[in-house]
Structure formats: structure tokens, C-alpha cells
Subunit: 380 residues, 2 copies
């Protein structure tokens, strides 16, 4: 089988994991073409673990070496768009790590540029989209099985990080190093899934807390109200200080409800009649009977699904899908251009919290960048 020669940019935790997967033969259609890291000490590590693989300190040199067909950007978030553009310019297929970037403006630049290279594969590492549980939920929603969405609610506070995590590097959890906290580092998975499954909101209001329970300048605790513009609303909650974190997603529709517990168990309740019809035809006497007599079980059918979670498998699935798109046009699970949604949402949450008012999407990108840069400056 023909294999894609992948250039891994950044041999940190994530880049190291991908290199390992490929070396172990777990990614069927990819081989490592080259490794790049601008920290010279990584050369030694690469030499020991990947002695036959070319190593570069300069990523442009690697892009122009002929050693790679494609790259993955395992580097600080700010750099994803610019490295991606340089790669696409040189006709190298590009897989961005998530998030696609820190601010919407830079992500739009690479998205625009990618349109000038339609023959290239441009994708993003939204590994959670390969999770069968979320694929199933998306299918149920897309099929209209629970009707139009009225409310979404995700409490995703399982991203516990001790202070030691933040103290690993001076760039961690800073405005200048990463461009934010939990919204930029941990929650992008769920922010993408929420918009992928339930659509983008038109407005958001966010209460975020900066350095609430950790000694960091960025947000470690976020509560957001989403307004989908058609009456439907939602809540998104995340934080990094709940060591017994909750992961509970509820989606309430005209004709049913889905509850996901711990990203493992899905409870789907499908109403026998749409709620609107029940409202129009039932009396309070019927209601009393319903809740005291037969129990609400009489009005819906319940289905419970359990899923096993295999984390490494998800990243491998995205890598293989990326290569399959390059090799034979297999549709992408996560096109690179999709990265903008999560970045826009995270930016909107930051901006709403900074201005303490509801903001409308798309937000004012210049204002966002100005406010972000203010915070980067203040850190210095």
C-alpha cells in the first residue's frame, strides 16, 4: 500500500505520541517522512528514537526538502495558521492540531488561502468526531428524531489540571503563550462537538473566571449561555478545578430528549406524539394522571446505548482519514475549514466575558485581537 510521508512539526507531547503511533505501525497509511523541532535538544531525542528519520530545526527547510507529502502542526496554537499556510503554499497537505488558531482572524486567513489550493488536503485533528457515541447523536439530530432543538446543556468539567500542570512551562496558560486557558486548551473538543451536532449559536453571554482556582492569568472556569436565534438556547460549562468533574450533555427537542453521561452512556427518549400536540390537546386532569398514574414513561420510548471509549484510537482514526483523503479522496471527518467554528465560539466567549455583555456572532475580530493583545502586553 502506498503511504503518505508525514512531517511532524513539534516533537512535544502530541507530536511524540503521533510519531509513536506511526512507528508502532498503528497508522496503516502513513510513514514518518521527517521530524522538525526548533528546540535543538530535541535532535538528540529524535536521533535515539527515530534514527533513520531526517530531522530539521527549520520547518520551511523541511517543507522544501522533498522528504514530506504532508505535515501535522504539533506546535503552540498561535503558530498553526501560519505554518499551515507555508505548507499549503509549497503544495504540502496540512493537518492542523486543534484549535485551528487562537483568534478567528488568523484562522480565516488560512481558510481563505486553502481555497486557492483545492487539490490539497487540509484537515484538522478533531479526534472526538470519530467517537461513535457523538456520531450516533449527530445522526439522531440530523434525522430529526427528536425534532427541532429547544435546549442544549453541556457540563464538561472533567478537565482537571493541578497547578503543577501549569507550572511545566512559562508559556502555559498565558495570553501570549497559548491565547487562553480551558477554552483554548481543553474544551475545544467539546466546543467543536457541540456546534457540529447542534449548530452554531447566534449570540453568547459568558461569565469566565481568570485564575479563579489556579495561579494563571487565563480562564480556568467558564459558564456560557448560547442563543441559537430561533428561540432555542443552551448552556456550556467547563473548568479545570473540579477533580470529580461532571460530563453531562442534554439535548431537548420538540419530539424527544438525549442525555449523555460521561461520554459513555446515551439515553434517548422519543415522544410518541410531538410535545406541541400534547400541549394542544391535554387538560390539567390528563397531566395529573400522567405524572401520578401511569408515570411519564407512558408518553415516550426509551433507548439506552453504552459505548466504550478508546482514546488513542481516535487520533489514529483522524490520521488515517487524513491520509486516505490524500491517497484516494475518502471524505474528511473534519475538513480544516471547520476549525473556524470552535475558534469563533471560544473568541466570542472570551469577548463577552471581557465586555460583560452578550455578543453576536461573528464577533468583531479586530476588537477581539485588540483586547487579546492588551492582555498579552500586560503579561510582559
Amino acid at each position: 500500500m502506498e503511504k503518505v510521508k508525514l512531517g511532524i512539526i513539534g516533537l512535544g507531547q502530541q507530536g511524540g505520541a503521533y510519531a509513536g503511533f506511526i512507528k508502532e505501525g498503528r497508522v496503516s497509511n502513513i510513514e514518518i517522512g521527517a521530524i522538525c523541532d526548533n528546540h535543538p535538544e530535541k535532535r538528540q531525542k529524535a536521533k535515539e528514537e527515530y534514527p533513520d528519520i531526517p530531522f530539521y530545526e527549520d520547518y520551511v527547510e523541511m517543507l522544501e526538502s522533498g522528504d514530506v507529502d504532508a505535515i501535522v502542526t504539533c506546535v503552540p496554537h498561535y503558530l498553526h495558521p501560519e505554518i499551515g499556510i507555508e505548507a499549503l503554499k509549497r503544495n504540502i497537505h496540512t493537518l492542523l492540531e486543534k484549535p485551528a488558531g487562537v483568534y478567528a482572524k488568523q484562522v480565516k486567513e488560512i481558510n481563505e488561502f486553502s481555497k486557492t489550493k483545492p487539490e490539497l488536503t487540509y484537515a484538522i485533528m478533531f479526534n472526538q468526531r470519530t467517537n461513535e457515541l457523538y456520531q450516533k447523536i449527530k445522526e439522531i439530530i440530523d434525522n430529526g428524531e427528536i425534532g427541532a432543538i429547544r435546549r442544549t446543556n453541556w457540563i464538561i468539567t472533567t478537565w482537571w489540571r493541578p497547578q503543577g500542570y501549569y507550572d511545566q512551562g512559562s508559556w502555559r496558560a498565558t495570553w501570549d503563550g497559548e491565547g487562553g486557558g480551558v477554552l483554548v486548551n481543553q474544551a475545544p473538543h467539546q466546543i467543536d462537538l457541540l456546534q457540529w451536532i447542534c449548530g452554531m449559536p447566534e449570540k453568547v453571554y459568558t461569565k469566565a473566571q481568570y485564575g479563579y482556582q489556579r495561579n494563571i492569568p487565563v480562564e480556568d472556569d467558564v459558564t456560557t449561555i448560547l442563543d441559537y436565534g430561533n428561540g432555542a438556547t443552551g448552556v456550556f460549562i467547563t473548568c479545570t478545578h473540579d477533580v470529580m468533574g461532571t460530563d453531562r450533555l442534554e439535548i431537548h427537542g420538540d419530539k424527544g430528549k438525549i442525555v449523555v453521561d460521561d461520554s459513555k452512556k446515551v439515553t434517548i427518549k422519543r415522544l410518541l406524539k410531538p410535545e406541541k400536540e400534547m400541549s394542544a390537546t391535554m387538560t390539567m386532569h390528563d397531566v395529573m394522571k400522567l405524572y401520578q398514574g401511569d408515570g411519564p414513561g407512558a408518553i415516550y420510548e426509551e433507548e439506552v446505548l453504552e459505548f466504550a471509549s478508546v482514546w488513542g484510537a481516535q487520533h489514529i482514526a483522524v490520521l488515517e482519514n487524513f491520509a486516505a483523503n490524500i491517497l484516494n479522496g475518502t471524505p474528511l471527518i473534519a475538513p480544516g475549514t471547520d476549525g473556524i467554528y470552535g475558534v469563533e465560539l471560544a473568541n466570542a466567549m472570551h469577548l463577552s466575558s471581557w465586555l460583560n455583555r452578550e455578543v453576536t456572532l461573528p464577533i468583531d475580530e479586530e476588537l477581539y485581537l485588540e483586547e487579546l493583545n492588551k492582555r498579552r502586553q500586560q503579561e510582559k
Copy 2:
């Protein structure tokens, strides 16, 4: 045993239920002194069901008749404070139905007036405070067993009402008839419980929807972010259009977490060490071990409690407690002055939603009344 002679003002659904409880001998220390209703057709109903009980159309006449020691106000919400003041003026003990009133200003008036009559019993029908489940949670919080609160989250959407409920009377679910929707009629129980257990927030931001799924001018869907002023935040969600409604309360503290499902099951997780200490001492390696190895169960002790819910019993318990306070000074479960908290919170939620911005408590009462009266006028 000496009994309190209670005057029941309003022989509608609630007043009728209380009269029934007393007639059936379920309220040990109360007898019906008189019944009052300004709808003349209720005289016939009273005559049939309570032939020996004096009936009045004018409540002032009843207050001055000598037939009653105490009253309960089962009348439209707007009237609770003024009837209460008239009763206290005539040295009649007063039990307000919930909510204490529609707007904070009128509730403060009766609270102020009640202070001039310290010898009288002034209470409010917060029947849910007699619920052993919520008493237990309050005790756990008050004892500091889960430490300082970091986050509260109550999804209480079990208040389903069909359109027929709203069509029962032209005053129902109108600004002029009731002063609001789910915040004034259904959710006051949980609004009181939340503040009783977790304290009052300093600020709220609310997204409310008016006539979203029901043909009513008032709110049938509410999402609120609470800011407790010390870093702790919360979310309160309620609506009347979810026929498979959710009732899930989560309270996350420095040292543990409480989750209540369906007001029946309480799961309490107590950390073996405070989270701050874990954050300060654990490495990311420990974290990986924690989540992949022993599982997070190794860091906490879990207790699960199940409670049976007996609804009528709660109202009877408040009636008996009210009478016991009159007869022998038994401490009140819900002093009348406590009614202000729920009204202030509901008012703040309305006002925030009307102004589409976060509001600080106590809110501007005059502005609230002005905005409320605008909506009452527009209905006419």
C-alpha cells in the same frame, strides 16, 4: 389541645386543599375559623362542604369578626402583601402563600410592617423546606462537609404545563394577573431552596423567553447565570414546555460534590483531601494514574441517599409549624420575611432579561416596577 382558628382567604385550588386537609383532621393544631372568597359563587361551595364555618366575601370583615386568630392568603400573588399587612394590623397571625408578592417593593413593605408586630407570627408557605432531602443537603453545606461552594447548577424543567392550563383563566400567565410566568408560579419553590441552601447571588444574568412554546405574554423558559461575588457561580434553568423535564441539582465545593436527581436521590462525594491540596501536590503523572489506574474513586468517599416524596405532607407540615409557632413558640421553618429573597431573585431575572445585561442585587426596585407596569399596560 388548643387549636388555632384559621381564616382561609381564597377558596380556589390551594385554599380548597388546605380546607380539605384541616377538615379531614390532618392538621393537628388548626381548625377552620372562617372562609373568605370575593367570588359570590364560592359561598355555595363553602356552604356545601363546610356548612358550619362562617363565610365572608370581604376579608377585612372576616379579620374583624373575631372568628379567626390567623389567616393564609390563597389569592393572586399581587394581593399577598396588602392582605398580610391588613391582617397584621388587626393582630391576626399571617401565613403568606408563595411567592410573597410579585415585586420586591411590596414585599419589603409587609416585611417592614411585620417588624412593628414582633408578637405576631408571620410565615410563608415554603413547603419544600420541609422536604427532608433538601434539609439534609442544607445541613451538609452548613456543616462545611463539601467546603466552600464553587458552583451550583439546577436544571428544573419538570414544571410542564399544557396550553389548556394557561387557558383556564384570562388572568393566568399575564403580567397584570400574576406578574410573570414560570418564575412567579412554578419555580419559586426551587428559587427559594437554592438561596436557602447556597445563599443569595450578588449578580444575575438571565436569558428568558416570553411565549416561546406557549401562547402567553410571560416567560415559559428561563436560563440564569448566578454570580455569588466570591468567585462561585451558578446556573438556574427552568421552563414549562418540557414534558420529560429534568430535575438535577449539582453543588460543587472545595471538598466535595452533591448531585440530586429528581428530588429523590442524593449522591454525595466527599474528597479525602481538599482539592486545593491535591492541586498543589499532584503531578501530571499522578493525574494520569488517577484517571487511568485506580479511577477517581480512590480520592473520595461516596454516599447515596434515597428519599420518598410525599407532597401533601409538606403543606401540612408548614401549616402545623405555623400554628405551633403561634401556640408555643416553636421556631418557624420559613419566617415570612424570608419571602423577599425569592421575589428579589425572580425580579432580578426578569429585569436582567428585559435590559439584556447582568444586574446587581438588590436591583433598582423602582425601575423594576416601572418595567413591570409597562408590560401590564401593554396587555390591556
